[in-house]
């Protein structure tokens, strides 16, 4: 290679990063070619070992994705040749990639034919448990090692390995197809795909792991938005993630405790992410029927517009929550709607709504009540509600926050699924 001397030197971490970035596409393509997830996965893993050996010395190949796919494909074919299943499986290869000597994955593929789209619909097939969907998506599409996936969800590596093996066994045994669902199935099938990406993002918000699930979720949402440009909810999910992410720098104090929306330094919000998210929201607002992700993105877009907390266009937010509640009439959405109403019609009106909700076991419910009671000057009731919220809070920073009894005027953080994230 003439580029050998010119190529920048790579360390192993950099090789790992590039590899992870590219491996989803290779795994997806090879699953189509070989019709077998394990074959594809093992081959890409082997190609990684080769890359770790070669790239630091020889430099990055001109098309790393193509290199991985070609190398993995050749390794897979070698391995299959070595095995006695040669005739059977190589026969399939010939059928599935007719007369094609390249790996079958051109660098730029037609968006409809991108194999990653097939792969995510297989990984998130409703026949698999949510846990399995998440694990498969991170492993196969996100290119994470089993150990990394395990650490992201605080389970041991053998536990995660077993979860993955079981899920893959089910895909094979039940013949979960490797295809993008047809238009009639799409609403049912897209729901778990979006839910998995959203769940990954939220796991990244609360996770203390060094692995960046938030970026991974945004990356997946971008891929989906590119591959399914006509699906408004896919764009809505991407916008929602970008807008929540825009507040990243201001949502935690150096000690890791949470800074709530009303107290955040809005100058630290990422304007580029906000603009990107808001542009998507503006496009979707032209539609008459908005889905849950688009509506939540729109709510976050309104927050992003406000220079100060006090200048927030709360009546616009209430109107959006009304629409959200009309399509998902859950108590959690009702709670968030009540919080917005408290800013328009005052804490008493909101408390009346909140006290009707059956959310005893949901700590943001108690946190919201606490905040409203405090604003009404009912301090001893507020203290009791803060204590209940603190007892149920999942993280130390939130627990500390509630124990401090809501210092300044602020909204409690209300995570939900699907979330509204008014306070994150």
């Amino acid at each position: 290679m003439s580029a050998r001397d010119a190529a920048p030197k790579l360390d192993q971490a950099e090789v790992g990063r590039i590899f992870r970035e590219e491996s989803g596409r290779s795994v997806a393509g090879l699953i189509r070619v070989f019709g077998d997830i394990d074959v594809a996965e093992d081959a890409v893993q082997e190609a990684f070992a080769v890359a770790l050996r070669k790239w630091p010395g020889e430099g990055l190949p001109p098309n790393p994705g193509g290199w991985i796919t070609t190398t993995a494909r050749n390794l897979a074919i070698d391995r299959l040749r070595r095995q006695s299943r040669e005739r059977e499986l190589l026969g399939e290869v010939a059928v599935l990639s007719p007369g094609n000597d390249d790996p079958g994955i051109p660098p730029e593929v037609d968006s409809v034919q991108d194999d990653r789209l097939r792969l995510i619909f297989t990984c998130c097939h409703p026949a698999l448990s949510t846990e399995a969907q998440v694990a498969l998506t991170l492993r196969l599409l996100g290119g994470m090692s089993t150990n990394e996936v395990a650490r992201s969800f605080l389970v041991t590596e053998p536990t995660m390995a077993q979860r993955l093996v079981r899920a893959k066994r089910k895909i094979k045994a039940a013949r979960i197809p490797y295809r993008v669902p047809g238009p009639d199935e799409l609403p049912d099938r897209l729901r778990p795909v979006l839910a998995v990406v959203y769940l990954l993002y939220n796991a990244g918000l609360t996770s203390s792991s060094e692995l960046d699930l938030r970026s991974e979720a945004i990356r997946l949402a971008r891929i989906l938005a590119t591959l399914m440009a006509d699906e408004p909810e896919v764009a809505g999910l991407l916008a929602l993630l970008l807008l929540i992410e825009s507040r990243r720098a201001s949502r935690l104090r150096p000690d890791g405790s949470l800074v709530l929306l009303g107290e955040q330094d809005r100058k630290r919000w990422d304007r580029a992410l906000i603009e990107e998210g808001q542009a998507i929201v503006r496009r979707s607002l032209r539609r008459s029927q908005l889905g849950v992700y688009q509506l939540q993105a729109a709510i976050n877009a309104v927050h992003a517009d406000a220079v100060t907390f006090e200048q927030t266009d709360w009546s616009q937010i209430v109107a959006l929550y009304d629409q959200l509640f009309a399509i998902t009439p859950t108590p959690v959405v009702a709670l968030n709607r009540a919080i917005a109403i408290s800013e328009v019609r005052g804490p008493a009106a909101a408390l009346a709504l909140v006290d009707h909700l059956d959310l005893e076991n949901y700590y943001p419910f108690h946190a919201t009540r606490a905040d409203l009671l405090r604003r009404l000057g009912r301090n001893s009731e507020a203290a009791a509600a803060y204590e209940r919220a603190a007892a149920m809070a999942p993280t130390d920073s939130e627990r500390d926050f509630f124990r401090l009894g809501g210092r300044a005027r602020q909204l409690p953080r209300v995570p939900e699924h699907p979330s509204t994230s008014t306070g994150s």
């Binding site: 097939h125 039940a174 013949r175 979960i176 197809p177 669902p181």
Partner: protein
């Protein structure tokens, strides 16, 4: 093609509005239609509807001795009420049949692939 068992599950003593005679007739008609549709699509392998679980008998063999007892085998409230065995190209195709069957029999249906033993 893969064979799938579509099993119809019913819960003993489950509180649900009893079907009227008219509804039963309608359900029966839909089941018949589905049966015909499965057959003409080449998906049908076999079907069966079972008597109540208290009609079951269990046979065990231990140490070469046969022991017969009153059934059912599983002490659960859920019982297999009937089944279809179908052939389909993949799970999605099987699920499409299962959703038609669930609508016709008014019960949830479990879809499970048959194991294939290679000769």
């Amino acid at each position: 093609m893969t064979k799938y068992l579509l099993s119809v599950h019913s819960v003993e003593g489950e509180v649900r509005p009893r079907m009227t005679d008219e509804e039963m007739k309608q359900s029966w008609k839909e089941v018949q239609l589905l049966h015909d549709e499965m057959k003409s699509a080449g998906a049908w392998v076999s079907t069966g509807a079972l008597h109540e679980p208290d009609t079951a008998t269990v046979v065990r063999v231990a140490g070469g001795e046969v022991m017969t007892t009153d059934g059912p085998f599983a002490e659960s409230k859920e019982h297999l009420g009937g089944f279809y065995v179908i052939e389909a190209k993949d799970l999605d195709a099987a699920l499409a049949w299962a959703s038609k069957a669930a609508a016709a029999v008014r019960h949830p249906i479990e879809v499970r692939p048959f194991r294939v033993f290679e000769a």
